[in-house]
Structures are given as C-alpha cells and as structure tokens.
Amino acid sequence: MSNLYRSRRRRNGLATCLSLAATFLGLSWLVLILAVLLWKGFSGLSVQVFTEMTPPPGSVGGLLNPIVGSLIMTMLAVAIGTPVGILAGTYMAEYGRHDKLTSVVRFINDILLSAPSIVIGLFVYEIMVYPMGHFSAWAGAVALALIVIPVVVRTTEDMLLMVSNPLRESAFALGLPRAYVIRHVCYRVARAGMLTGVLLAVARISGETAPLLFTALNNQFWSTNLDAPMASLPVVIFQFALSPYEDWQKLAWTGALIITLAVLALSIVARAVAASRKEP
C-alpha cells in the first residue's frame, strides 16, 4: 500500500519536474534569442543605420532604404487589407450571423490565416508580377495585404460578436438604420479589439520575408517608386545574412534587432489595447 502511494507520488513529482523543465526550456529560448540579437545587433546600432543606404560590400552604410521600404509596403498593405477585413468581419457578425456563407467564410479564413506565406507570394507573383513583367512594391503590398485580411477578419468578427445585443436592440428601437447602428454603435464598442487585430496584423507582416522575395524583390538604392522593386528589411536581412561579407552580416544582425524590437513592441501594445477594453 505504501509502495503504491510512494510510486504515485514519485510519478507526480516526475511530471511536475518535467513540466517545469519544459516551461524553463521554452522561456530560455526566448531569452537566448533576444540575448544573441542584442549582443550581435546592438553594437551595429548607430545613426548611420537610419540615415544611409544599404552599402556595397566593403563600405559603410545603413538600412535607410529597406526601413522606408518596409514602412511603405506595410502601410499600403494595411490600407488595402484592413477595410476588406473589417467589412468581411462585419458581414459575418452582423448581417450573416447564421448564414451558411458565414461558416464557409470562417472556415476558409482560418485556413488562410495559417496558409504558408510563400504560397501567397507565388500567387501574387502569378497574378501581378508575371503579367506586369516586373517586380514592384505594389505586388509586395498586395501579398502582405492578403496576410493582413484573415487576421483582421478574425478579430473583427470575434469583437463584434462580443457586442451585447441589448445595445443593438436599443439603437434599433430608436429607429436607426442597421448600417448606422453598426458603424456608430457596434464599431465604437468593438473599437479597441478591432485595433488590436490591426496591430497584430502589422506585427505579423513586418517580419514576413517569403512573400516579398518574389513580389517586391529588393533594391539596393533609394526608391519610393511603387511600380518598381523595393527594398524591405526582412529581404535585406535574408540577402545580407547569407552573403559571405562580414560587414553585410553585421548589418543583417542590426536589422534583425530592429525588426524584433518593433514586432515585440507592437504585440505588447496590442495586448495593452486589448486589455484596456475591459476596464470601463
């Protein structure tokens, strides 16, 4: 009897230890990656990085054009993807809550949410780059927008479904038309949650590399022409890190540090926004 008890206790202790170890392992990866990034990237951080163009190997330079390129394409992608995502999410939560269409769209949207981003790159290459005959920032932005849409659809639908029905009913009781109620009552209540969705989408696309490789490609020089290839931080990191030149690799680390800090900051802000919703 006491043998059985002891073996049960032993097993329980072992499981506790293992779960502790697993959590420790998970957390240590985060610490390890951040530490290496800071270690390798921080020394390269200077004003130069933000003011000069990507250099040819062997000379000094910065990351200005990829940073600007990333910002431009991210903003374009959000500008294209957010309205579509919000409208689609609105249909699912407000108009077609019990539709067959809604459940199909939800299913497909969930698939798109985790579809391999390189496949999205291939798709945009086929519909935009190949017919147009050249790589362009537009194509890059569309590829990123296709990643934004499912994220925004998901959060918009979830947030609108959380808006309480009595609120809608009281607005309808005043005789307000449906579109007005959605825009001025439901959106207002769900605003913080929807903003969280957009921020998460931005965090997601600012590190995306694969879909940009053959849509926006890359550009060694300063360019704000949306119809031409455009540099972006992730693609420059990809190219520089795999190059044999040490100063390029150093810049890649610095770029990696910048992206990671930006993405982590965005996801923390998104969390803060989502948490602030619950206060009032």
Binding site: R9, R11, N12, L14, A15, T16, S19, L20, A21, A22, T23, L25, G26, L27, W29, L30, I33, V36, K40, L87, A88, M92, Y95, G96, L101, V104, V105, F107, I108, D110, I111, L112, S114, A115, P116, I118, V119, L122, I149, P177, R178, Y180, I182, R183, S206, G207, T209, A210, L213, F214, L217, P234, I237, F238, A241, A256, V263, L264, S267, R271
Partner: protein, 321 residues
C-alpha cells in the same frame, strides 16, 4: 404637417435605406472576396503548375532528380525533406508544449500564469527570419560542435541508427531545421493546449482531486482525455505551420536536392526550394516546376489545417452550449 415635410421625410428614409443596402452589399462582397482569394489562389497555382505536371506526370512526385540544366525536375527530395523536418519538429514540440500547458494550467502559481503565458506567446511572435539568422550563426555551429558529434559517436555502433545519424557533422542539415521548427511551433501548440485545458470543467477536476488523485493523475486521466480533440487540433495547426515554414528552414537546411538516409545530412524542403530558386528560375518548365512544388505544399497544408480546424470547431460546439 405639410406635404413638403413628409416628402422630405420620405427622401431621408429612402436615402437611409439605400445607404443601408450599399453597406450590406459592401460587407457581403468583402466576405465573398475572402472566398475568392482562396479559390483564385488554387486556380492560379494549378494553371501555373500545369506545364510541369504535363511534362512529368505523376512521376514528378516520385523522382529525386532536380536538374535545371537538363530541365528534369522531380519533387521527391523537397517533399521528403518537408515531411522529415516536420516529423522531427513535432516529435520534440508536442511533448514539450503539452508539459508547458500542464504547467501553466495546473501547477504554476496564479500570479505567474499571465506573465509566463505572455512570454511563451511572444516566442510565437518573433519573425521567422530571426529564427533563420539565429539558427545559421548561433544554433548550427553549436550543434556542429556538441550534439552532432555526440550523436554520431553514440549511435555509430548501433545498426539502424548509425545510418540515421551518419556523419560528418555539418551543423546545418535536416536535424537542425527540425530542431528550429520545433522551437517555432512550440508556442502555438502550447497556447492552444493551454486554452483547451482551461476549458475542462473544474467540476471534473475537483471530483478527481476529491477522490485523492495526484496532480499528474488528474492531468493524465481527466484533463487529457477530455481535451484530446482540441489538443489534436492544436497539434495539427502546429504541423501546418511546420510544413509551410520557409525562412528559418531556408537558412539551415543546406539546400541539397537529395534524399539521404541520415538526418544530419543537408536536404531541402518545398518552401526552401521555392525561396532559393524562384527568382533565378529561367525557362518556363523550371518556374512551373517550382509552382507545382508550391501547389503540393498548399494541398498538404490545406488538408492538415482543414483537419485541425474541423477538430477545433467540434470542440467549440461541445463547449459552447
């Protein structure tokens, strides 16, 4: 009330109604747009892959040869690499992330649950290119000098395992890619499992504790069986991610188009092949073959993700009412 007044009231009413209709149509079109994206992606990929599929037929799936010069292409090596790296990733990530979820729901003190949960989720937010550069410059050299020589030494005399761990230790290769994928999918599986574990009715757990079960026995005989469907869904979701992951793998897999018995050898995956070769692909047959690879990847991940969503949806149905 004058006639003009009621007329204008009617006009206002009409205007509101038409705006209402416009907004409704707009939202419906967007929702249909989401469907169209997936639909057209499939159509576009199939039509792009058609030349290659026509030239090589079903043998495309079973040929190892990948030669741009003679324009002979086969997808066996990338498919093999994709499946093996994902298998390695899941073998490691599933038990570890389940134990993390157990820790977060059953053992961890309340006050630490949120911060640790957030830290694990931040791990999921780190862009894959960061894992790539970290894997290439830090993780692969580390493996080359420690784990890989050890594995070669350890399994050298064992008959079957010696081919699986045949040297030399390159550092980069299928095992390294699998390990990095494991780290990348771990937070996904962990956070879904945590959510699923939390959905287990407390009454069930309390009953088990009440008859004197240990924490581990509660997890093993109450939580895990109850949450099984959801956990499998989460695992499939992680698998979908591992199959399609591109940048991290591209950095460390070594990009060799061959099927090797050793997991220490360099290999390639579908996504790594596309990422590496697509912009350099000259000739219609070459790029069409790469698009065919993309189509294969899409089909595989589609099946896996659809299954995952189906399982998770079934769980939601059970929890909701």
């Amino acid at each position: 009330m004058s006639a003009a007044d009621s007329f204008s009231r009617l006009a206002v009413f009409r205007r509101l109604r038409s705006r209402d209709a416009v907004f409704r149509i707009l939202t419906r079109t967007s929702a249909l747009g989401v469907l169209m994206v997936l639909g057209s992606a499939i159509v576009v990929l199939v039509s792009g892959a058609l030349p290659a599929l026509r030239a090589f037929g079903l043998a495309f799936l079973t040929t190892e040869m990948w030669n741009p010069v003679t324009e002979k292409f086969g997808a066996l090596a990338p498919i093999y690499g994709t499946l093996v790296t994902s298998a390695i990733a899941m073998t490691i990530a599933v038990p570890v992330s389940l134990m993390i979820a157990v820790f977060l729901t059953e053992i961890c003190p309340m006050r630490l649950r949120r911060p640790i949960g957030i830290a694990i989720e931040l791990l999921a937010g780190i862009p894959s290119i960061i894992y790539g550069i970290w894997g290439l410059f830090v993780f692969a050299p580390f493996l080359q000098h420690t784990l890989q020589p050890f594995l070669i030494e350890l399994f050298g005399p064992v008959p079957v395992l010696s081919t699986l761990f045949a040297g030399p230790p390159y550092g980069i290769g299928i095992l390294t890619a699998g390990l990095i994928l494991a780290i990348m999918v771990l937070p996904f599986i962990a956070s879904i499992s945590r959510d699923v574990f939390e959905a287990v009715p407390p009454v069930l757990k309390e009953a088990a504790y009440g008859v004197g079960c240990t924490t581990w026995e509660v997890v093993r005989y109450v939580v895990l069986p109850y949450a099984r469907v959801g956990v499998i869904g989460g695992v499939m979701l992680g698998l979908g991610r591992a199959l399609g992951e591109t940048m991290a793998v591209t950095f460390v897999i070594g990009n060799a188009h061959r099927v090797s018995g050793s997991i220490l050898a360099p290999g390639t995956t579908i996504s790594a092949t596309i990422a590496n070769e697509f912009t350099e692909a000259v000739g219609d047959l070459y790029s069409s073959s790469l698009i065919a690879l993309g189509l294969i990847l899409f089909v595989i991940t589609f099946i896996v993700l659809a299954l995952a969503r189906y399982l998770l949806m079934r769980l939601e149905d059970r929890v909701a009412p």
